[in-house]
């Protein structure tokens, strides 16, 4: 238990470092631009007619306060960190006066659900298929499945989502292509709402899964093909252990470790893919919110979403890291 505590401490340190660097990166980007967001917003707001200079001065003052741009750079830095810690980015401009955190909290469950479901399906199915393909080298069906799955892997998420949108929206319209659930339906845990949510999530999940399967398939297949030549596997085969038991207990169990590492490392990329897919299908998660916020010029919302994304992905990676020693106890001892 002592070594697990030490491991946990190291992982927490890494988590803190990621969040620190990520948020600092956001700060540097937003404060090293040649464009003043206050002036940008004011020019957008006053472009449709004349406004009195006093009104403009008041706008400038309140916008500076809103965006946290008062005072010297040091004060701005501290104020920024305070906001992130308390998770209060002020009211959103495009949905005034709703606070930014409210908008984000509304969108976050959709993204989290989409991510969780699609990542689980992709990881499990990809590893299973890859493991079978690596073990049963001569199966034509598995080889064909491999070609199919690896064919989709290099294509970016946007294009796959777009193609699915066209296929299921225009050519064969059997699935809903926008929204998280049917509009104007009563929300809650009643069956019709849950069914509607599931139905609307089929296409986004499908597009994420199609792209993601290839990576796990390839990795698992190469890992398994290396392990099947190991002595203990050959001994088990000669000893008459059932193939399913060999595959499950001997082979796959050992390949889980690098695959879990791979999962932690690719969560950032999967997150990127999820928010892009959301934008294509109008799924009410962080992705759609981010794109709409950029188009509306909503500074606080974009900043809030970026910070939330960084923290959310770091937390997910931390959770996976915490489960890691249970799979491979040697990790606790490693320095």
């Amino acid at each position: 238990m002592h070594s697990y505590a030490r491991y946990l401490l190291r992982r927490l340190g890494q988590f803190a470092l990621v969040v620190f660097i990520g948020i600092n990166l956001s700060f540097v980007i937003t404060h090293s631009t040649p464009i003043d967001p206050v002036e940008q917003t004011i020019s957008a707001a006053t472009s449709f007619g004349s406004t009195s200079p006093e009104a403009i001065a008041m706008m400038r003052q309140s916008l500076r306060e809103l965006y946290g741009l008062q005072g010297g750079i040091g004060e701005q830095y501290l104020a920024f960190w305070k906001r992130v810690a308390v998770f209060d980015f002020g009211p959103s401009l495009s949905a005034f006066p709703t606070p930014v955190s409210d908008l984000i909290w509304r969108a976050l469950p959709w993204t989290a659900g989409l991510l969780f479901v699609s990542t689980t399906i992709t990881w499990v199915v990809g590893n299973l298929l890859g493991g079978l393909a690596g073990y049963l080298r001569d199966s034509r069906a598995l080889r064909f499945a491999g070609v199919l799955v690896m064919g989709f892997h290099p294509i970016p998420y946007y294009i796959v989502a777009f193609v699915l949108l066209i296929v299921f929206g225009y050519l064969w319209p059997v699935l809903p292509i926008t929204g998280g659930a049917q509009m104007n339906m009563a929300r809650g845990f009643n069956t019709s709402f849950v069914l509607s949510v599931l139905q609307h999530s089929i296409l986004p999940v499908l597009s994420l899964v199609m792209v993601g399967l290839g990576g796990w398939f390839m990795g698992m297949r190469s890992l398994v093909s290396n392990i099947v030549n190991e002595d203990y596997v050959v001994y088990a085969e000669l000893g008459g252990v059932a193939p399913s038991k060999i595959l499950g207990a001997y082979v796959m169990r050992n390949t889980l470790v690098p695959q879990v590492t791979g999962l932690a490392m690719s969560l950032g990329g999967i997150f990127n893919g999820a928010i892009i897919t959301e934008q294509v299908f109008g799924y009410p998660g962080i992705g759609s919110l981010l794109v709409d916020a950029v188009h509306a010029g909503d500074y606080s919302l974009v900043l809030g979403l970026t910070s939330v994304s960084i923290v959310a992905v770091s937390v997910a990676v931390l959770l996976i890291d915490m489960l890691y020693p249970f799979l491979d106890p040697r990790v606790k001892l490693a320095n």
Partner: protein, 285 residues
């Protein structure tokens, strides 16, 4: 090296297909230099024509020939991908080799930094970058930012090779002869690392083109320069699908998918080549 490439072409079907696909794409990109229309002109041909002669891939709603615009688009997209991959190679090679060679505290510090950049979700940060730069954002600045964010994964691979090289005898000999660390890294270790660098370059080009297409389709880049993503952006702006002008979207998507698959096949076959056990496992001669 040419012998290696020739062998790969002959025996590794994935490599051969990848080279064929990429040559096709490169040929189309090179055709942009003989294009009769400038990429920024619009309404030079009758708009909204389906594929016919002489407009082999049809025309767009902005009066541009899809085929010739596509040549410019794929050329710019490929150039962007190469630029990002090149810049991020410098970073990942430096950090990977130094971390693998030095070991100890330096290695741990660099790897903590590396893991940070692997975990951080890049898309929100790039969107933030566009948001604050708006019209001032150029392709070069976007390439610089992406290169500074996209070196992490490959640096780790290079580091693992560098760590194994560190323990080899010729490295010890080099140290005892008084070679400085940079000289050892460049003269002794770099040739071993090059095959991995090649395959990671292909992957990196894929990644950067994918990100560029995604950002451009959402309108988050300089939409006046034709690239694949920008073409799709304008097609969406003119609601091409609703208007039935499917060729405006289909052909850029098709061409970029061919590019991705070609690069991917090259990277995978190179990886298989690097790991000899993979070659034996596949029953290759």
């Amino acid at each position: 090296m040419w012998k290696v490439l020739r062998d790969l072409l002959r025996h590794n079907r994935g490599f051969a297909i990848g080279v064929a696909l990429l040559s096709f794409v490169l040929a189309i990109a090179l055709l942009s230099f003989v294009s009769p229309y400038s990429p920024l002109d619009s309404y030079v041909v009758p708009p909204d024509l389906p594929p016919c002669w002489p407009y082999v891939l049809g025309t767009t709603s902005r009066g541009q020939d899809v085929f010739w615009t596509l040549t410019f688009a794929i050329r710019n997209t490929l150039l962007f991908g190469f630029l990002v991959a090149l810049l991020s190679r410098l970073l990942s090679l430096t950090i990977g080799l130094v971390a693998g060679y030095a070991g100890g505290v330096v290695d741990r510090a660099l790897m903590s930094l590396n893991d940070t950049f692997i975990v951080i979700p890049l898309f929100p940060i790039l969107v933030l970058f566009y948001f604050v730069m708006r019209d001032r954002m150029s392709w070069v600045s976007l390439a610089l930012v992406m290169a500074c964010l996209g070196w992490a994964y490959d640096a780790r691979l290079i580091r693992s090779v560098a760590m194994s090289l560190r323990t080899r005898e010729f490295t010890e000999t080099g140290i005892f002869s008084g070679m400085s660390m940079p000289r050892i890294l460049v003269e002794e270790h770099l040739p071993y690392v090059l095959p991995i660098v090649f395959s990671t370059t292909m992957n990196n080009i894929n990644w950067s083109i994918g990100l560029e297409v995604t950002l451009s389709v959402l309108g988050f880049t300089d939409i006046n320069t034709p690239t694949i993503g920008v073409m799709i952006y304008w097609a969406n702006q003119h609601t091409a699908l609703v208007a039935g002008i499917w060729w405006w979207i289909a052909f850029p998507v098709l061409l970029v998918v061919i590019t991705f698959i070609g690069l991917f096949l090259l990277a995978v076959s190179m990886n298989e080549f690097i790991d000899p056990r993979g070659r034996l496992g596949r029953g290759a001669p």
